[in-house]
Amino acid sequence: MTARPPPRRRGWSWRSQAFRGLVYQLLAAAAIGLALWFLAHNTIDNMRARGIQSGFGFLLQPAGFDIGESIIPYDALDQNWRAFLVGILNTLRVAVVGVVLATVLGALLGVGRFSRNAIVRGLCYGYVELFRNIPVLLQLLVWYLFFTDILPPISEPLSLGGVIYLSKAGFSFPVPLWSLGQALAAAGATVGLAIAWAHRRWAIRQFELTARVRSLFWVPLAIVFAGSILGWLAGGAPTAWNLPAPGAFSMEGGASATPEFLGVLLGLVLYTSAFIAEVVRAGIASVAHGQVEAAGSLGLTRTQTMRLVTLPQALRVIIPPITSQYLNLTKNSSLAVAIGYPDVVSIATTSLNNTGRAVECIAIIMLVYLATSLSTAGFMNWYNNRAAIKER
């Protein structure tokens, strides 16, 4: 007989599992609702008694405090919401740079655990154990101490060739003076990127047709490079740099990273890279040795095995925990409040002390981090579903 679709749901039984489930849920919802009402009631009473106002209107009032460093222009007369925006940008700044550096360092350390050389293996293991077992707050404090106590004062900075300076005022380096040449170089790089991508697709299709292996990395890189150089030449090949020079109280010119930023960055990168190293190591180890053996028996070289067999399987195991390490790094950046780096928590605390709006400020902090976490978790779910090994 042919298959047919299922019938609609039939009758209802008062003694069924479904009914019991409904009753439990109603009871639980009622209990939680009651608890929440009780807490909200207390809060309103307490706030009225203490004369605390509520509402997010305070965001439109002038902030009245300065912020140590900011990407966008800001001064004390700007409104509170702008101060929070500066905080969020500062958090993102240290998080993005931190994630990139921690990934690179962590990957190198993770792969280093499999090195043929025993000293390299030992050093990687020692690094991971050392930095994993000391609280991150302590590491931040030590690095901040290093930058503010141990580095030389601004009057006698450490310098490399007179263009790079390291002192208590931070790390200063030259940046090119932005003009037509640099803008065209950036445009050229973008065009180069598009051409490089097209080249990759062509090379892959050629491989499928003729089995001739073409360079998939170096040639596209050269194309991007060539694009940016052509753009730079077209803009008149400008070579002007903005050089830092030590002034009386601070560095003038160039771009600099403050000791607060460096302290947070270094502390977070070194701490998180230890965990990322463990994740990478576990991912590589998770690929069963039989896979490598089978690849070898088919005649693949060690590099081919790594690229075609080990890495794709290892990446599936690595991506989820590494994403949660990225989230941890972002959340740990909130500790910057302990060393004075103006991230969003630090700004919120200042604002809280100024305006007394505890509930609102803490809510803003939580919302910012929740948004980051949930979007990252969403991305990870999408990736997991796409990359999952299909089973019966």
Partner: protein, 367 residues
């Protein structure tokens, strides 16, 4: 015609692959790249290790003498700061004469943790033992009973506070975590969504915001007039935070119990709670012991954050000890290295133990 079977006696191998020389050849000088690396690293060690040793050991000052420390500044470490301030760092602002009490209380909790970690002691009386030990800790620290002087909680600090927050935090978080993990796997949508919301909300925010919430918001949430102790508020914050992470760990264990176990229990007629209590949870919790240890290590490190809400545990006690004293303030680095060593000792020991347990569990499930 088959010949009779003649067994051959075993002989040692002709080329020795064991021994120190063979190991060196394989691991340090295995190829030209490896040899080059070994030589470069050896050169780097020769360049840096002597100066570090000079600073840390040979030129360092070990006596608590401010004069020699200042004289040795720049050339030698001043470990004298540790000798001078160790009581303040480790025990906080606790009254000097009564400091035997926090010391004893810390040892009590450490003993409790060691006992809980040894498989031989996993019996029914372990749970009451926890209650007794924790009660003992609080009686020793707070006093007010049996002739012990009363010491209010804002004077507690240092290592006893760190250990207590971590231990009590995880102990209280455990039952909550089990219920939330079960709830998250429930088929009832309302309960499942409430548990998911709780876990994702708490895991998505940094601990510091939870501590701020505990510090600033809890007084507002309580009925008018009542303001709970700072320590209690922070403990509630840590517990709720730990419970969310622990719930995910327990959920991993629940997922690892084969579905057939629940089916078998159903065929025997056991109810949901009987199945969970007698069949699923014992197996799930045994599977996740190493992961729970990792959670504990993380919470132990996270207690350092309570410094930011003005509870002076180990990290905060250091600041307290040195910031107020202009003489010893320049030697903060040595102080930091000292407490880093303490944290490292605890956390490294716990992670070694967790790895050992993982191996034990792996061995017991294979025949």
């Amino acid at each position: 015609m088959a010949a009779t079977f003649q067994p051959i006696a075993p002989r040692p191998a002709p080329v020795r692959t064991g021994g120190l020389l063979a190991w060196l050849r394989a691991n340090l000088f295995g190829g030209w790249k490896s040899t080059l690396t070994t030589l470069l690293l050896a050169l780097a060690a020769l360049a840096w290790l002597p100066s570090i040793a000079q600073w840390g050991i040979f030129q360092a000052v070990f006596q608590p003498d401010i004069g020699s420390c200042q004289a040795a500044r720049g050339t030698g470490a001043c470990w004298g700061v540790v000798a001078e301030k160790y009581r303040l760092i480790i025990l906080g602002r606790y009254p000097f004469d009564e400091q035997w009490r926090p010391a004893l209380a810390t040892l009590l909790l450490m003993g409790l943790l060691v006992v809980s970690c040894t498989r031989r002691f996993w019996r029914a009386w372990l749970a009451p033992l926890w209650v007794v030990a924790l009660a003992g800790y609080f009686i020793l620290m707070r006093g007010g009973l049996w002739g012990l002087a009363l010491v209010p909680t804002d004077l507690w600090g240092g290592l006893p506070l760190t250990i207590m927050l971590a231990t009590l935090g995880i102990a209280l978080a455990f039952p909550i975590a089990v219920l939330v993990a079960l709830g998250r796997r429930s088929t009832l949508p309302a309960i499942r969504s409430m548990c998911i919301v709780y876990v994702e909300l708490v895991r998505g925010v940094p601990l510091i915001s939870v501590l701020f919430m505990a510090s600033f918001l809890f007084p507002l949430l309580m009925p008018m007039g009542k303001s709970p102790d700072v320590l209690l508020r922070v403990l509630v914050g840590i517990t709720l935070f730990a419970a969310a992470y622990l719930a995910e760990t327990v959920r991993g264990g629940l997922q690892a119990v084969p579905k057939g176990q629940i089916e078998a229990a159903a065929t025997l007629g056991l109810t949901y709670w009987q199945t969970q209590r007698k069949i699923v949870l014992p197996q799930a919790l045994a599977i996740v012991v190493p992961a729970v240890m990792n959670n504990f290590i993380a919470i132990f490190k996270d207690t350092s954050l309570v410094t930011i809400v003005s509870l002076y545990e180990l990290t905060g006690a250091l600041g307290l000890a040195l910031n107020a004293d202009a003489d010893w303030r320049p030697y903060k680095l040595e102080g930091y290295l000292f407490i880093a060593a303490i944290y490292f000792a605890f956390c490294f020991a716990m992670s070694r133990y967790s790895l050992w347990i993982e191996k034990q569990v792996g061995m017991s499930t294979t025949r």
